[in-house]
């Protein structure tokens, strides 16, 4: 009897395994072109750039080591790592760009830049760029704290400039303009400004006076699945069935229950997503849907991650709307900002 039971289970297992295999094969076959395409377009460039990066890093290290060695031989004190670029005799011919201001000014902002560099403006037409002179190598470090500090300084400079000159088109961290042949970095940059001038002015008009805010909405899976379990006929039915069964069948019904819960949760979440999106859209100039991220907190999952461009007079209403969303049971809102309009330029 026991033997029979066992062989039955094995038979079942075999059938299931076949089914899974068949389905997987069919899927792979159907999608093989798409998969090949995706692998080719994603994986290969990533691998290539990773290899390139690694080679560059190794080379750089080798160069740095030989330079330090030379510097020490000559009796000169070797500079600390961040100043290695300077030690290599590389003058500050690059131009580090923080952003573009909505004003024509030529002025100094003092030594507030990254690593205490003097920040000043380069004007063109109705715009001015906020820059400092820098070595040609990008700011790179293995130390996360150092990078955080640099990025914070980058942000701080933009804040100061915004205070002084109004709206800023922010640049990302580590944008460095290099000199080309005879032209200095400033010349290269000015000709770039000339080329892009119309686009920049358009962008400026779009964001003038407005601020970017981040809106992230989370839900608590446990609270909401409880709610679904209370409300759904189907789930209550399955639960009742479970009470009368043996442990094996109860396990099966638990799986069924979880699948039903998940399905219901997904459909509710997509309804909530639409609802929240519409409600938020009413109060903002523009919305960008960003990728949702995994939350570090327990029992919190992100349902939406938005960047919003907000006019000053709409801020209050948006805040109130978000408060209303955060007040719904099982939902939480994280509202950050104001930031320069990074996501909209």
């Amino acid at each position: 009897m026991v033997r029979e039971g066992r062989s039955e289970t094995e038979k079942l297992r075999g059938v299931i395994a076949d089914l899974v295999r068949e389905e997987a094969e069919a899927l792979v076959h159907e999608a093989s072109e798409a998969i090949t395409e995706i692998v080719r377009s994603n994986l290969l460039p990533a691998v290539r750039s990773a290899i390139r990066e690694e080679i560059a890093k190794q080379l750089e290290e080798a160069v740095y080591l030989s330079q330090t060695a030379r510097a020490q031989d000559e009796g000169g004190a070797a500079a600390e790592a961040p100043d290695a670029e300077e030690a290599s005799g590389n003058e500050e011919r690059g131009l580090y760009v923080y952003g573009i201001a909505d004003a024509n000014v030529e002025t100094e902002l003092g030594q507030i830049g990254i690593e205490g560099k003097s920040v000043y403006t380069v004007s063109y037409g109705d715009l001015s760029a906020i820059v400092h002179d820098c070595p040609l190598e990008p700011y790179e470090s293995d130390d996360e704290e150092v990078i955080t500090r640099w990025v914070a300084t980058h942000q701080y400079v933009i804040d100061v400039a915004e205070e002084k000159f109004g709206t800023i088109i922010p640049f990302g961290f580590d944008r460095i303009i290099k000199p080309k042949a005879q032209a200095s970095a400033k010349d290269v940059f000015r000709s770039w400004l000339a080329e892009e001038y119309d686009t920049l002015v358009q962008k400026m008009e779009k964001i003038r006076g407005k601020k970017e805010y981040g809106v992230q909405i989370f839900y608590s899976p446990s609270v909401l699945s409880q709610k679904i379990a209370d409300e759904s006929e189907e789930i209550r039915g399955i639960k009742e069935m479970m009470g009368t069964k043996g442990p094996g069948a109860a396990y099966m019904y638990t799986q069924k229950l979880e699948t039903a819960l998940k399905r219901e949760m997904e459909s509710r979440m997509s309804a909530h997503f639409k609802d929240f999106y519409e409600r938020i859209k009413n109060h903002v100039e523009e919305i960008k849907i960003e990728k949702t991220k995994r939350s570090d907190e327990k029992d919190r999952r992100m349902i939406m991650n938005l960047s919003c461009l907000v006019a000053p007079n709409a801020y209050q209403a948006l805040g109130a709307e978000l408060e209303a969303i955060g007040g719904e049971s099982g939902f939480f809102v994280r509202f950050t900002g104001p930031w320069p309009a990074y996501s909209f330029v």
Binding site: E8, V20, G248, A249, Y251
Partner: protein, 102 residues
């Protein structure tokens, strides 16, 4: 490129990967099993035995994870797989992104 390999992290890595894959297969089996149950072609007794077999399977996986201290490794492999799948699906849904990245 220097790969940092020692016995412990190699074991964790490979075993974690294997168990993560086994878990993925387990999840598929579960789905199939529930589908079969819902089709109504299984007798009560068969459902019970199928459930018990899957339960044993779960228990075995849990034991291995605890014994080998790879619970976290497995989770991180699975999270990684999830992210990868999400990304691939998103790309399939939004072919414009292929162009953007090209």
């Amino acid at each position: 490129m220097v790969l940092d390999i020692d016995e412990v992290n190699l074991k964790h890595g490979v075993l974690g990967l294997v168990i993560a894959l086994v878990e993925v297969i387990r999840d598929t089996l579960r789905l199939q099993a529930v589908r079969r149950m819902e089709s109504g072609r299984l007798s009560e007794e068969e459902i019970e035995r199928l459930g018990e077999a899957l339960m044993e399977f779960d228990r075995a996986i849990e034991e291995i994870k605890v014994e080998q201290g790879i619970t976290e490794t497995v989770q991180s492999v699975r999270d990684g797989l999830d992210d990868l799948v999400t990304e691939v699906i998103e790309k399939m849904v939004n072919p414009e992104r292929w162009v953007e990245e090209a």
